[in-house]
């Protein structure tokens, strides 16, 4: 029985890798401009398209998906609740508020500066969420995500209100409705910061797993509980801010991917972070490719596609019980 189970796990892992590679190839060759493997070798103009647009877009989608999923995973470990993620608990909305404030007060600031400020506000917003979440009765696990939804909604409403008053609603749409069509060379490189954050998360994976066992167990095992909590918050906030600034909010990724991976591989973060990242990259790439194909040659934003796909996956998660393996 153990053999079947382990080989099943390996099949799933292999399938995830294959799907990822396939989607990378698809993402590179699908788009309004003409570009085929044949041209890639012979046509310098086509190569130009490849390096300026297709490759950046594919890399950005993969990075965003991986990072958002890992951010969701970490947030779930910090809050000890499976139904929270940055985009539904005020983190992404706080980041959007941050860029909005920067755009209003220091419009000349560089993208990096805006991102930094967005990260700080995301950190602040998430800290307030965490402090409140830890006070909610643990016997009612659904209160935490519900509170997160309301809290994120209130911050989002502030963003919309300020944007409406200052006639910046168009910009706000860019930050709150994630899409990759604007990603070209020179406009996405900051996203590599999310890879750095994911690497740090993997480095401290054991500490984060201990943290997810609760405060008492953490202290009993000698973990510096507060510092680990703060580090986790910084990782989550930085990833959210970077993706909001460059791509915009993409819903559900941070929610469904960690839950799906946890069903199969469990919650030992040292082992699951790479698979959460790979699955998240695959899902976002897949949704982006789908968005490019559905109304070809026009595009549907990845956030919209993910809203549908993610919701379906989430409903499936809710209605199927965890396999007892």
């Amino acid at each position: 029985m153990t053999d079947i189970r382990t080989s099943g796990k390996w099949m799933t892992k292999l399938a995830a890798c294959a799907a990822f590679v396939m989607l990378v190839i698809l993402s590179i060759f699908i788009g309004a401009g003409e570009f085929s493997p044949w041209q890639a070798i012979h046509d310098p103009a086509a190569l130009q398209l490849f390096f300026a647009s297709r490759l950046p877009r594919t890399v950005a989608a993969a990075l965003t998906g991986a990072a958002l999923s890992i951010a969701g995973l970490i947030m779930q470990a910090l809050v000890r609740n499976r139904f929270v993620e940055p985009s539904t608990a005020g983190t992404a909305q706080s980041a959007a508020l941050g860029i909005l404030i920067m755009t209003l007060v220091f419009p000349a600031a560089s993208l990096a500066m805006k991102t930094l400020f967005a990260s700080i506000l995301a950190l602040l917003g998430t800290s307030i969420f965490m402090m409140t979440a830890h006070r909610l009765p643990p016997a009612q696990p659904y209160l935490v995500p519900l509170f997160g939804l309301v809290y994120g909604g209130v911050i989002g409403a502030v963003v919309t209100f300020v944007g409406w008053q200052t006639e910046l609603l168009q910009f706000i749409d860019i930050w709150t409705n994630g899409e990759f069509s604007g990603v070209v060379r020179g406009r996405y490189e900051l996203l590599w910061g999310t890879a750095l954050m994911a690497a740090i998360a993997w480095w401290v994976a054991d500490r984060l797993t201990v943290l997810s066992l609760g405060r008492d167990v953490s202290i009993g095992l000698g973990l510096s509980y507060q510092r680990t909590l703060q580090l986790g918050l910084v990782i989550v906030s930085a990833i959210s801010a970077l993706t909001v600034v460059i791509v915009g909010i993409i819903p559900f990724v941070g929610l469904v991917v960690p839950n799906l991976v946890s069903r199969i591989l469990g919650d030992n973060l040292r082992g699951t972070i790479p698979w959460v990242g790979l699955s998240g990259a695959t899902l976002v790439l897949g949704c982006d490719v789908l968005g490019r194909l559905l109304r070809y040659p026009y595009e549907i934003p990845v956030a919209t596609v993910m809203g549908v796909v993610g919701a379906i996956l989430f409903l499936r998660l809710m209605f199927t019980r965890a396999t007892h393996a």
Binding site: G214, R215, V217, G220, L221, G266, A325
Partner: protein, 252 residues
């Protein structure tokens, strides 16, 4: 040695512990008994630095618990609290393995892996080693938690009602395991117990508490008298002697 000196604690003006002074020597099993709300669990969590001290001080091997680095204390004492629900999907082996965290900080060596295997064997968890803990019964999960605490390999083990959820077979097994590690490896176990006869049979010393105070303290034979038990639990119970061990007929 664990020294508890003049420890008092109150929560919103309500006293939980009143001026406790106790000295728990190295080696042996000490059972904390008493009715609900006596302050046993609070005392245990103060020793394990899970709550800040309000007055008095607690020393573990001369290290003050409130000012010593948590990492250093984690190699001296391990605590298992009651009802600490683990929501994470870890396998039993992974969970028990995290007991070694204070020693390797996430990079286990061969010694750590051997310690995990020994703990799995000691608590008969090998057959369940690859199961996720959220698929286990309450008693199996409790055994996994005890194994994790044991695996931490500390001189002092603080266990808050470790027999919760355990059937008779495994409750006896756990008490015998504790006896073995106390006798053969000179470990010290401080256990909150509700089954007074388990305390009578396996503990070297019983500390009986009520309303945040120590009412009686000594060997089972000296503590388990009808007068003491009435003072602690509020009703008279009969006591029989079986082979020199007191047996309390608590249910009559």
């Amino acid at each position: 040695m664990i020294q508890i000196e003049n420890v008092s604690l109150s929560y919103r003006e309500v006293p939980i512990l009143s001026d406790i002074t106790l000295s728990l020597g190295k080696g042996g099993i000490t059972a904390l008994v008493g009715p609900n709300g006596a302050g046993k669990s609070t005392l245990l969590s103060l020793i394990a630095r899970l709550q800040p001290l309000q007055t008095g001080r607690i020393l573990v091997d001369s290290l003050p618990v409130n000012s010593t680095a948590s990492r250093i204390l984690a190699r001296r004492l391990a605590i298992l609290r009651q009802g600490g629900a683990i929501a994470s999907r870890l396998t039993v082996r992974q969970l028990v393995g995290f007991g070694r965290f204070p020693h390797h900080q996430g990079r286990p060596c061969a010694g750590d892996i051997a310690a995990v295997e020994a703990a799995l064997e000691q608590f008969e968890l090998q057959a369940l080693a690859e199961r996720f803990i959220d698929t286990l019964s309450g008693g199996q999960r409790q055994r996994a938690m005890v194994a994790m605490t044991f695996c931490q390999g500390t001189d002092y083990l603080l266990l808050d009602e470790p027999l919760n959820n355990l059937d008779m077979f495994h409750a006896r097994q756990l008490m015998r395991s504790l006896r073995t590690i106390a006798d053969e490896r000179q470990r010290t176990a401080i256990i909150v117990l509700h089954d007074i006869n388990q305390a009578a049979t396996y503990a070297d010393r019983i500390v009986a508490m009520r309303d945040g105070r120590v009412i009686a303290d000594g060997t089972p034979a000296t503590v388990l008298t009808e007068d003491n038990l009435e003072a602690v639990f509020g009703y008279r119970m009969q006591i029989r002697q079986i082979d020199g061990t007191p047996l309390v007929l608590q249910h009559l």
